[in-house]
């Protein structure tokens, strides 16, 4: 799948933003006034920034409001509805903590739940696709949620929780790669099932339908850069999980925390790039590619 920068930014940043909102919703850190304002500002900048980035890959964004209508069947629509619900609920909670100095804890818990549900809906946009076997597994949702909660803990300054959760998220990432590598073969789609010609023999592409490229090939048969996948996995895992966890064990200063956050973000971007670049769509079989 084509790793569009807008979608990588969207899933990585909004995941982090909603993760932080979830921690703020349960009162960790227990802050009010200006300190709370800074935390909420960061959370909203990430969550809303990510959502805005996601609209950049739309071909026809003028109809974007219609995307709130199909929540009964579409995960993308559910994500739109849940994200707005989470942002409004947490906005009301933020008004209480920042300006009135009170924490409406019930409202906060609801907002936290909605924030995590938004991340879950984002993950289901990918996990629902039977056409992309690597994604079509519950581990995709586990990975998105683990990264969101761990990154949120890091931003929320929950040092002990962050160390544990960052290492846990790294573990989920390794499991996702390990499971994902065998998913395409397990799904059983081959050029023979794609064409129905397997009863005659082995199928290979003789001539593609056209000499140039097309939308399907650029969007769904992205093979560029997969050769560096193994190296990128190591970089992603180190930056995203191990380096920030070790940094937090060594020191609790703001500078170290900032380096840990930047390292984590770099790692998440690399991992998310791989998430798309390594995902193989079954339509590639009609082009003799994976």
């Amino acid at each position: 799948m084509h790793p569009a920068p807008s979608v990588i930014l969207f899933t990585a940043l909004s995941g982090l933003g909603f993760g932080l909102l979830a921690w703020l919703g349960i009162g960790r850190p227990d802050v009010t006034g200006w300190v709370a304002f800074v935390f909420f500002f960061i959370a909203y900048a990430l969550a809303v920034g990510g959502l805005v980035a996601s609209t950049f890959h739309l071909g026809n964004p003028k109809n974007a409001l219609k995307a709130f209508s199909q929540w009964r069947s579409s995960w993308l629509s559910r994500e739109a509805v849940l994200s707005v619900a989470a942002l409004i609920t947490m906005g009301l909670y933020a008004i209480g903590t920042v300006f009135l100095g009170v924490q409406w804890s019930a409202l906060g818990v609801i907002g936290a739940a909605l924030s995590l549900l938004t991340v879950f809906a984002t993950s289901m946009i990918y996990a629902q696709l039977e056409t992309v076997p690597r994604w079509n597994h519950p581990i995709t949702s586990a990975l998105f949620l683990a990264l969101s909660i761990a990154g949120g803990a890091l931003l929320a300054g929950q040092v002990t929780a962050a160390i544990v959760l960052l290492l846990l998220a790294g573990g989920v990432q390794v499991a996702a790669w390990w499971l994902g590598d065998g998913r395409f073969a397990k799904r059983g789609s081959t050029m023979e099932t794609a064409t129905g010609l397997g009863f005659i023999g082995k199928v290979r592409l003789f001539e593609p339908p056209h000499t140039g490229g097309n939308y399907l090939l650029t969007e769904m048969v992205y093979v560029v850069g997969r050769k560096h996948a193994a190296r990128l996995r190591v970089i992603a895992l180190l930056c995203m999980s191990l380096v920030p966890a070790i940094l937090l064990m060594l020191s609790h200063s703001h500078v170290v925390a900032l380096i840990a956050v930047l390292s984590h973000l770099t790692g998440v971007f690399a991992a998310r790039w791989l998430f798309f670049a390594e995902a193989e769509h079954v339509v590639g079989l009609y082009y003799g590619k994976r």
Partner: protein
């Protein structure tokens, strides 16, 4: 709503004969011609006369080579367009309701006025039947020529999808696959019509008729044994020449 209808009254679709298709691409051209001038926005091309031409097509013909365990390989031309699946995954993923399957005849369509061009339906389709038009930014797909098949301004013989109407080999058939007595259903039953990627559970309406068995080689003619060489060993002058040359 982008929920799929529980059942459709009819199942209009195509039956494509892989035994008959000659791979001429006439269906590709007639499809592009009709659909760029009629329903929805035109099917745009990018850099059509330059070095990297590409464009939006609703129907494309692939060619495959199939190699049996024994005997000669065989070329199969393979037209591919929307299969108007009963369990169309492209419909349920749509966030705006632009993508829908009609309850009356089972045709899967895109309402371009509601499409945001997110491309998720194209991701959900295993068959590559949907292409985002790069100029208009909305999703395009086969409409089964919904603006021809019910069009009373056209003569009766033209009320067929453009690809079916134009196919010079008679490899494409159109009809109601929900009616077991229809000509297309009979054809599917007689020839063992098959689904593409059945393991994905999309339950396509369109069916493909497999190529008929080919000659396997071996004896070319029953008279062939009679044409065997009469003299295995050269005699006379040729025999002398053969021996002399071997001795040299």
């Amino acid at each position: 709503m982008t929920d799929l209808p529980d059942k459709t009254d009819r199942k209009l679709g195509l039956v494509i004969d892989l035994d008959t298709c000659v791979g001429c691409h006439a269906c590709v051209i007639s499809c592009k011609g009709w659909n760029t001038e009629n329903y929805g926005v035109p099917l745009s091309d990018q850099d059509p006369y330059g070095g990297t031409p590409s464009g939006t097509f609703l129907n494309r013909v692939h060619s495959f080579e199939v190699q049996p365990d024994q005997g000669a390989a065989q070329t199969v031309h393979f037209p591919k367009s929307c299969l108007h699946c009963d369990d169309a995954p492209c419909v349920t993923v749509c966030p705006t309701g632009a993508s829908y399957k009609r309850a009356e005849d089972g045709i899967v369509l895109v309402n371009e006025d509601a499409c945001i061009g997110c491309g998720l339906c194209a991701w959900a389709c295993p068959y590559g039947a949907r292409e985002l038009d790069r100029a208009a930014g909305v999703m395009k797909k086969c409409t089964l020529c919904v603006d021809r098949i019910y069009n009373e301004n056209l003569p009766q013989e033209d009320r067929l999808p453009a690809c079916v109407r134009t196919c010079p080999a008679g490899a494409r058939h159109f009809g109601d696959l929900g009616d077991p007595d229809s000509a297309v259903s009979q054809l599917v039953a007689d020839r063992g019509g098959m689904d593409l990627m059945p393991e994905l559970g999309t339950r396509p309406v369109n069916k493909y008729l497999p190529p008929r068995p080919k000659d396997t080689g071996g004896e070319i003619d029953i008279l062939a044994p009679l044409l065997a060489p009469v003299a295995e060993e050269p005699k006379g002058f040729l025999g002398w020449l053969d021996k002399t040359l071997e001795r040299l």
